[in-house]
């Protein structure tokens, strides 16, 4: 026989279990440029000014692989557009890129690598519309992406994806 009194303890235990989480879960709202180190931002600004839209030759994409180490592991919330990458077998969204703008003008380069976040959903969700902006919330991580260069990039274990 299970005593009813045992059940009364469960909410208390649950609350105790989640207490550390609740204390940690102060979600920081980020802007895209927060993801880029200050000096790279300056270099980036200088670079953009040199793009010549009339040229036949491709504007060499400005690359910025440097990340902000202090952002590693924080709970963050950031708005952007979803570029679906991986779905489960039923067409639900599993992994995606979050980017600051959608449908770029074809003669400017894509955003630098530290302006893209690779989002992973623990539970696949129904496919979202790529033309809508979303708030993405979860744990931000920094991962090394290649061994030969010092490149790293942002990824996020996404807990929530909601319409902007």
């Amino acid at each position: 026989m299970i005593d009813l009194k045992d059940f009364k303890l469960i909410p208390l235990l649950l609350a105790l279990a989640f207490l550390p989480l609740a204390a940690q879960a102060e979600v920081r709202e980020l802007e895209w440029l927060d993801l880029m180190p200050e000096e790279e931002f300056q270099a980036w600004l200088d670079d953009v000014e040199q793009i010549d839209h009339s040229s036949f030759f491709m504007a060499e994409p400005f690359q910025s692989f440097r990340t902000m180490p202090e952002l590693d592991g924080i709970q963050a919330r950031i708005p952007g557009f979803v570029v679906p990458i991986e779905t489960d077998g039923r067409g639900n969204l599993k992994e995606f890129f979050l980017v600051p703008f959608f449908g770029a003008c074809i003669h400017v380069p894509p955003p630098p690598a530290n302006q893209i976040i690779y989002g992973r959903l623990a539970e696949p969700i129904p496919m979202v519309n790529i033309w809508d902006a979303f708030w993405m919330e979860g744990t931000l991580n920094i991962e090394e992406i290649t061994n030969d260069t010092a490149a790293s990039a942002y990824t996020m274990d996404v807990t929530r994806l909601e319409l902007y």
């Binding site: 570029v83 679906p84 077998g89 995606f96 893209i116 496919m127 790529i130 033309w131 992406i145």
Partner: protein, 421 residues
């Protein structure tokens, strides 16, 4: 006897009109559910077919068209990619693997794809599942062919059978590659994707059967002898391929690489990200889907109005029935609720029957859709929100029934006892 029992007996008494009404509602609900089920199943089928591909590359064309002809075998390419470009793309540092696709030939309506072993190794479908051979092995000899599960099942081919491929993609082949028969070396396990609908040969074989076709038709006497071709198998290369599937080392590089390919100067190319292009496709088909939805919703409305008509016309016939109920102590509100209960039974019957009907049609149409359009339609239960819509339709039926209920409420008081025959 309670009201529900009474409503049931009363319906039985007028069974023909009632059955017809239930059928009308069932048909309309069936249409509504079927439209929605097929829509989501077709989308799922498309999503199943591309997994783990970062970029699809083809000649300069519309992204949707490139996606359709490369992965789904719908439509044809307008141009191809030169072999040199393929070799350059393949060795880019960002590229992990590259699957070449050389299209343009067919076998009894099924597409033949010239490809490399990378296809069997790197192609993924569904939830990142790999291709598997049900029987046999990947092509070993130059004139070996691996066939999809559906090709084997529908045409009844087995390992070791010899087949002759046709030039062009028509269902009936007038121009055949009959001097180079192929031997079936392997049969793929079913995937539920367009892979099942295709045959696979090596790129060298694709080249070999097209030697002598440089002028557009086969020039007599200029083709290569199968054995001579086998000797030269290592050096045989197609001049061009139709499309290319790329997997990258670093997914974050996809935006840059897409741009580099799209701006590649020596040749006009298009690189697409499948996830984005599928959504562009849904944007195009979305309009037709909305029209179908509106039509289905209007048909449901017509069904409900049909039920209202039946309830109203029988109202006057049932004056005597109501009078007897009143004489036995039934109150006016009980007569009214009797009518609402009846409507509820009709609507519930119609909805249940409609869902069953939709599922039956869906499972019956699935083999036909597969054989004719290469669309894999699975059987799935309506999603929660669809069940919600059905619930709203049920409530709407009850609301509509308030009209005869209100009329019955007023009439039973005034003329219920004075029916003249």
């Amino acid at each position: 006897m309670n009201l529900l029992g009474l409503a049931w007996r009363s319906l039985l008494n007028r069974r023909f009109a009632v059955i017809l009404t239930v059928c009308t509602i069932a048909l309309s609900i069936g249409l509504l559910v079927l439209v929605e089920q097929l829509r989501s199943e077709v989308r799922t089928g498309f999503y199943r077919s591309v997994s783990g591909v970062d970029l699809i590359v083809g000649a300069r064309t519309s992204p949707v068209q490139l996606l359709l002809y490369s992965v789904f075998g719908i439509g044809d390419a307008t141009n191809d990619i030169s072999w040199e470009t393929f070799e350059q793309l393949k060795v880019l540092p960002q590229v992990d693997w590259a699957i070449p696709m050389a299209l343009g030939d067919s076998f009894r309506g099924f597409r033949v794809m010239g490809t490399s072993r990378d296809f069997f190794e790197h192609y993924r479908f569904g939830n990142r599942e790999s291709l598997a051979l049900a029987r046999g092995e990947i092509f070993d000899d130059l004139f070996d062919v691996v066939i999809g599960a559906q090709v084997a099942r529908q045409l009844g081919y087995e390992l070791g059978d010899r087949i002759v491929l046709a030039h062009g993609t028509g269902r009936v082949a007038l121009q055949a590659h009959d001097d180079h028969p192929f031997t079936i070396s392997g049969i793929l396990a079913p995937t539920g994707t367009p892979v099942d609908q295709q045959l696979y040969i090596s790129l060298a074989a694709h080249r070999a059967i097209h030697i002598g076709w440089e002028t557009g038709v086969q020039r007599p006497g200029s083709t290569i002898d199968p054995d001579a071709a086998r000797d030269r198998a290592d050096e045989l290369r197609p001049n061009a391929i139709t499309a290319l599937l790329l997997g990258l080392n670093t997914r974050a590089a996809v935006f840059d690489l897409q741009r580099v390919i799209n701006r590649y100067r020596p040749e006009a190319l298009t690189a697409i990200m499948p996830g984005i292009t599928l959504q562009q496709l849904w944007r195009i088909t979305g309009l037709a889907e909305q029209v179908l939805r509106v039509v289905a919703a209007l048909v449901v409305l017509a069904g409900l109005l049909g039920m209202l008509t039946v309830l109203l016309t029988t109202l006057s016939e049932r004056r005597r029935e109501m009078a007897i109920l009143r004489a036995n102590g039934a109150r006016p509100w009980q007569i009214s609720s009797l009518l609402v209960f009846e409507a509820g039974l009709i609507a519930a019957g119609g909805i249940v029957l409609g869902v069953v009907l939709a599922l039956v049609v869906q499972s019956a149409a699935a083999p036909w859709l597969l054989a004719n359009y290469g669309l894999h339609v699975g059987l799935s239960w309506p999603e929660p929100w669809q069940l919600g819509v059905l619930g709203i339709i049920f409530l709407a039926a009850l609301l509509i029934a308030l009209v005869p209920a209100f009329m019955a409420y007023r009439r039973t008081l005034s003329d219920g006892m004075q029916v003249k025959t």
